[in-house]
Assembly symmetry: D2
Homo-oligomer: 275 residues x 4
């Protein structure tokens, strides 16, 4: 069972938590902790053997911690997610395959696309696909439609798997630090549109991809994971896009694994990842 703790730091927290566990005779299988000295924040992820009395344990841990501590004991192991896409298939297909073979660590509830091209691959996996075109609608109308589809599924996370529209702050605010995006550059380089075009113009020798939580600022949310792949002078923009897709798929898969296993903590605009 997993225990996740995030609170302001003070002397003796590890000992206090460990003794609360010891009282219940709980054996610690793995423990990861980190203290952010600048922010005075304490982060801990524990894996322990079966817990018999969860409420009792939470009460006794909470008694040891500073006020306002985040304590999650036994977080839902199989997260529910909604995936949003536009036209590119690579991240979606990877998620659908892992979902089908039950190695995603989450369950995809449905896929929402603003284009129809990825409908068929979803159908092949018996995955509900909702087409929500954005043409001829205000952003408000477009996002209300999305909300109306998403909310009944009560997803733990929304995954933007190459969804090429920018969500408004009001929609993002409904899922704080629960919307995960894959950005096709090594953020903060090449923020915004056409990062591969920008990378090509600049003549970079590495192409990056960044998985991050979505906040209100475009491409500015907390970074979960980043990867790169070498490029060289012979790469056209198209070559960069192709090469980039391989790491977009890979870095998003990695970031989702970390999030779904409750290994990612968010504080202000940064993450702590116990990989």
């Amino acid at each position: 069972m997993i225990i996740v703790i995030q609170c302001s730091d003070r002397v003796g927290l590890v000992g206090a938590i460990a003794s609360a566990l010891a009282k219940q005779q709980l054996n610690i299988i793995t423990m990861r902790e980190y203290v952010d000295k600048v922010e005075n924040m304490f982060f801990m992820r524990l894996e322990v053997e079966e817990i018999e009395d969860v409420p009792g344990l939470e009460t006794s841990i909470r008694a040891m911690l500073p006020k306002g501590a985040l304590i999650i004991i036994n977080p839902v192991p199989q997260k529910k997610i909604v995936v949003m896409v536009t036209k590119e298939y690579h991240c979606l297909a990877d998620i659908l395959v892992r979902n089908y073979f039950k190695t995603l660590g989450a369950t995809v509830q449905c896929v929402i696309g603003n284009h129809a091209v990825l409908h068929d691959i979803c159908k092949r996996f018996d995955m509900p696909f909702f087409l929500v075109p954005h043409e001829g609608k205000t952003k408000e109308e477009f996002e209300r439609e999305i909300s109306d589809i998403v909310l009944p599924f009560e997803p733990d996370y929304i995954v933007l798997a190459k969804f090429m529209r920018i969500l408004s702050p009001s929609l993002v605010a409904k899922f704080p630090m629960r919307v995960i995006n894959i950005h096709h550059s090594f953020l903060p380089a090449f923020i915004g549109a056409n990062p591969y075009r920008q990378a090509f113009e600049r003549g970079v020798k590495l192409i990056g991809a960044t998985a991050h939580f979505v906040s209100n600022e475009l491409d500015e949310g907390p970074i979960i994971a980043q990867q790169i792949i070498p490029a060289n002078h012979s790469f056209t923009v198209t070559d960069m896009v192709k090469a980039g897709k391989e790491i977009e798929t890979s870095v998003l898969a990695y970031a989702l694994k970390m999030v779904f296993e409750d290994r990612v903590f968010v504080h202000k605009n940064k993450t702590v990842v116990f990989d």
Copy 2:
């Protein structure tokens, strides 16, 4: 022997050059060519066996090529360089060691520092060190002093091995595409001062380093090579600096090797690197 060619592209260039070589019975050991379709530029690097009649070969190749072609036959194999530093030792020490063991592919003429701390390591390698403090001088005076030291050495390249002052366009203009800098970030992310501080604030998961030619725009010259090293939430700014030094050393060494072996071509703001 090396032959380097750069010119505008047209049909039949490879054949034309190859036949010019064949006339002199020259055997091609390696050939690398690249055509930039967007810029309509042709780049070629040849390694051939001993050339007996260099001027004759150049004439016969030039006759085959578009006007204004750059042709360098048998470029100086052992480049002369001047290294400029401030306080950090890692790139300089690596260069001094390779210079001492004759594996740098160039000969260091002297080191110029605006601080004295690296004087001793230079002395240990019998390397002339010129102290040029910048305090109490105008930029003009400071750079005139540097120029006065550099010019008599007639260096092929100036290497900024963690030299922390920005050179003025007028000084750079004296060495067009012959000043090489190591920038401690994955350009174009974190241009300018304190890139590690910026990277820390942004919470990046990779730290980068970029070796590039210096142009008039700060940190905007053609990129020769880039590398990254993983970072995580536990990295302080100091940790990032330390980790960064390892790849700064490594990426600068690699870029210098490429340049000194005449593998790097510059066109506009990009490089072609035949590695």
Copy 3:
């Protein structure tokens, strides 16, 4: 159009080939050549604009080359492949997805499995799946069944996408350098069975995967590509297997791309890869 040439080396080959192309007014888009000095072998891959007279070009090139030269002009662009699997899905699913979205660079004719578990994923992609169990059969019988299925498809390549049986030399001999395997280790370390168990016992800090052509010696054929992923002390054998799958998928995809684009040459037990 692609031209592929492999022959013993002699002076003037590049010029001779280039002039044969020039006679037909063919423009070279890209040219890659390599001379293996030890083996005295010449390898070239050309990309040229539309060829009008293919037989004429071949005749004129052949006239220039040493006897026994391999010359392939305009190799079939969309290769036909048969995929063989056992129980693990990751490589197969990646191939099926790329095949479905027409980004594989080849067309999967069918999948053969010695277990039934991957039948369903094939069905979802309308991909013929042939179940050929090995139990209760001699190796000869088992392989005759496979041959009988494979041969009518006349595949260019057979891809062993985690097929866990060793093919006999007589079957491999029917497809010389046309059977591609993904081996779950950094060959030549951990040849044979249970490489992850071996890696775990040895306490390695990197896990590798190797895509290679199958020859008669187990895990000894020419290597096309290799990749690694970091491991640490906390990795169980299961963790290594999981981590390994990610790079197995990735390195096999890369190797197939290279092969299908006619970028891979084989000489004796090594490959030349013009990536």
Copy 4:
């Protein structure tokens, strides 16, 4: 201050240790622990604030732990090392530079070489160099000379920085898990002599380097760190050697850093590295 603990595992160890620390009002800055379930072993590295009563703390921790526990409180922060070399300079020069700039995390006491070529670089850093040729001596005589030089320095570690002679078990036994070697391959591939030649013959696409403790079995001791660098068909054995040197330097530097910061634990033939 650092605390290092290694013992057989049982329930409640973390809590017990944490409460022993709490009794002394010690604040934990970082804690890393790992339980090897297969071996039933517990490993912990703590960084705590200033410890006033070290013997008292050790007594109270020891009371909590299984018999035979390894407990090191406040290990010597600046290790003493002896470096042994043959002819290649790259690892030695890197160590000398870091030693000179006090960033090695250890102090080099002397260098022993069985060839004289690296004498001069040592002299430049005022580093004692002992020439111990092996020619015309029995292994026993050769190693007795080495022992006689090494022992008076009482080094914490002996670093074989490209020392190309195999040490006998009897010499290694004097420094159990305190002799660190850099092997120029991705162990366990290419054990023994001429690994680059072996790698060349096999046509590998990656070159590796391995830093490991020396045990009695050749190239079989516990691995501390491994790195790779890409290779391709154009690499001669010499190119592989050159490329390999870059990662040999880098992986040895990394392994030494880990060891000198007391981040490496050894159990049987494996390491636990809290990086």
